[in-house]
């Protein structure tokens, strides 16, 4: 008889793997990625290419030369980080700033904590916040796209004109020219429906549960509704507030990162409400026009506590 395997039960296993989950996240990010390349042109393509390539190469180099361990790039998590980082940046970001972002994301936020699964903070967010503080000009200069002339970014280059986002305007002059809304921002910030499509895909494929994302949205809407009616004209309308800035990208793709979010549904809701509250507070009373990244980072730090607080209910125990 041939040599038989005798490993312990169970003898069958799920088809699902980390790689397949990450691939699903990449698929969910495709609509927004494709749209931003179409609208922002080759600048955007460059930012994405530099970000993804440097994230993957860095992880490969760190495992090979520093940790001397088998490479982990096959799990595709570095691709996800690279893509998310790129979608957080302006299409006008110079390549070397993108590279610094990748070093912070993969080198500092991910690998120095022990790699995938060990990091406390979402790597792409850490990089975004680092760049925002270190290179505020690059991080707040957005290309303005003419939605009526899709090809213009490719033919003329979009970097000729730059402009502020609705959030900056609200912050600085407390008045928003509605034509600006939904036009300027980082690539990942302006294609709401592409992002929501990605969200639907992730939920339908059961890659993520919707509770974290939905509780962020609900908190932001409720908070802005109160503000809107308390002081009309002073604050953004709730709907615009939700669809402006990084809330969609952050709540769908970064707050739901398994590693840096709570395990239970109840914990996820606490986490989501926390992110929503901190975002609105920073946006309206903090130093920065946008607060989602900071909010996610702060709540990331609370995850171990939330996990302690929200233990799952055990069978047959009161």
């Amino acid at each position: 008889m041939q040599k038989l395997l005798v490993s312990p039960s169970p003898h069958i296993h799920t088809e699902l793997s980390t790689r397949k989950l990450m691939l699903d996240v990449i698929i969910a990010l495709l609509p927004v990625t494709v749209l931003s390349v179409i609208f922002y042109g080759w600048h955007e393509l460059m930012v994405i290419a530099v970000s993804v390539a440097s994230c993957v190469l860095l992880e490969w180099a760190i495992t090979k030369f520093l940790l001397k361990k088998p490479s982990t790039i096959g799990d595709l998590s570095a691709v996800v980080t690279g893509l998310l980082l790129a979608l957080n940046l302006s299409s006008l970001t110079p390549w070397w700033v993108v590279l610094i972002g990748a070093v912070v994301a993969i080198g500092v936020a991910k690998m120095s904590f022990g790699g995938l699964g060990q990091n406390v903070f979402n790597p792409a967010i850490v990089a975004r916040v680092f760049l925002l503080i270190s290179f505020p000009v690059y991080m707040t200069t957005w290309a303005v796209v003419d939605p009526g002339n899709i090809g213009s970014a490719w033919l003329l280059g979009a970097d000729a004109i730059t402009g502020p986002t609705a959030l900056t305007l609200m912050k600085e002059v407390h008045n928003v020219d509605s034509s600006v809304i939904l036009q300027a921002g980082s690539a990942g910030e302006i294609y709401d429906w592409a992002l929501i499509l990605g969200f639907a895909y992730l939920v339908l494929r059961k890659v993520i549960k919707p509770w974290i994302t939905l509780s962020i949205w609900a908190t932001v809407l409720v908070f802005y509704t109160i503000l809107y009616f308390a002081a009309p004209g002073e604050y953004l309308a709730p709907g615009i507030a939700l669809f402006t800035g990084g809330i969609l990208l952050g709540s769908i793709f970064m707050a739901t990162d398994y590693v840096t979010s709570p395990m239970t549904t109840k914990g996820g809701i606490i986490f989501g409400v926390g992110i929503g509250l901190i975002t609105v507070i920073i946006r309206n009373w903090g130093a920065y026009p946008e607060g989602v990244s900071f909010a996610i980072l702060i709540m990331n730090a609370f995850v171990p506590l939330i996990n302690k607080l929200c233990k799952s209910k055990k069978f047959g125990r009161a």
Binding site: L5, S7, P8, H11, H13, L21, Y258, F315
Partner: protein, 450 residues
Amino acid sequence: MHNVTFKMGGIHPDDKKISSRCKIEVLPLPEKVYVSMAQHLGAPANPVVAVGDEVKVGQVIAEPAGFISAYVHSPVSGVVKTIGPMPDLAGNMVNHIEIEVKGDVWRDDIDRSTTLVTRIPDDTAFILDRIKQCGVVGLGGATFPTHVKLAPPPGKKADCLIINGAECEPYLTSDNRIMIERSSEIIIGAAIMSKVLGSCPTVIAIEENKREAIMIMSSALSSLKRMTDVCNDIRIQVLQKKYPQGGEKQLIDAVMDRQVKSGGLPIDAGAVVQNVATALAVYEAVQKNRPLITNVLTVTGDCLTVQHNYLFRIGTPLSFIAEYAGGVPAAAAKIVSGGPMMGKAVANLDATTVKGSSSILYLMEEQTKRRPETACIRCGRCAQACPMGLEPFYLFRLAKVDDYAALEENAVQDCIECGCCLYSCPAGVPLLDLIRPAKGNVLRIIKSRK
């Protein structure tokens, strides 16, 4: 009525019931049988025959060696050749009685006719004794002596008898087949046990993927209800398909919506659970005076050309059955005795069948080979899958550092070893491999405190 299920955790593996339409075939007698003295939970039985003795089919060859133990009967007629230790499925040395088969001479007081006996004896003490004398044990996996389980400790009363026809393990179809082919006997067996338990209501629980069994059991139950009044308190409950529905605690939760307390027994929640095959064995014992010497086993696998369900004599070597079913397929990389979730992988087919044998399952390498372990991504799928509401990822970390105090606090002792956590892990983390021995150690610590 809607299909119920247990509420916490669970998984939906492909059920692969590819042998469900294969009728039960009677396996021919082997040349020799090897009857284990430890085929029930509790103390191994004491042999009461000597080498050279002639035995008949159904003759007692070993007696219980304690309160939790069981009689063992000769499954064949012939001569006792040896009595001594032999490796069982797990490789543990266990006393076996080797009998050389000669003819097929049965004890004359066994009723071998197929006539359905619907009248149930009045004396419950007599029924319990019959079940004990016939060596009936639970055939759902744990092989706990049935007469002990049917006699709840004083002060505890069964509100419901659940007959477990869930058969939630993929591939296994022996329970499905007996529900199709021996439906009336199973229902009478259930009625007998219900009577012993003080005529408590009885629910026969079957998973929805066994449509034919549900249909046939339902019509058998209605016609029995027309013939006799012993089945009036029996009903059939269809369950959703979910693993591990056949686990006692999960089944009680599904059917009665009650949770057995941690560390408690089903009877504490007013439930007694018996497998459909046990119900059949009880029928045979009480109505036909026939000891538990046969059972039905599935020989199956995607790499096996023809699937089988065999009625086998207990003690028949696994190798004999595999040979008769066409030999071990070349593509088989793992042979499992039992289901793919909780069964035991064997290194060879030298071991013998026991009362609780349910299958020979052949798995191919690509079906069973584990993927290399990668980092836990804290996706929480193991915790979502755990039917006991535990956090396997955390127990695994604690088990790695032997933190038994924390393991106990996090209820490792409640683990039912169903394998849902390891099955669901996308990172290939061998959760149960470490949780299982940690649970054993914690249970020993808890026991030593008493």
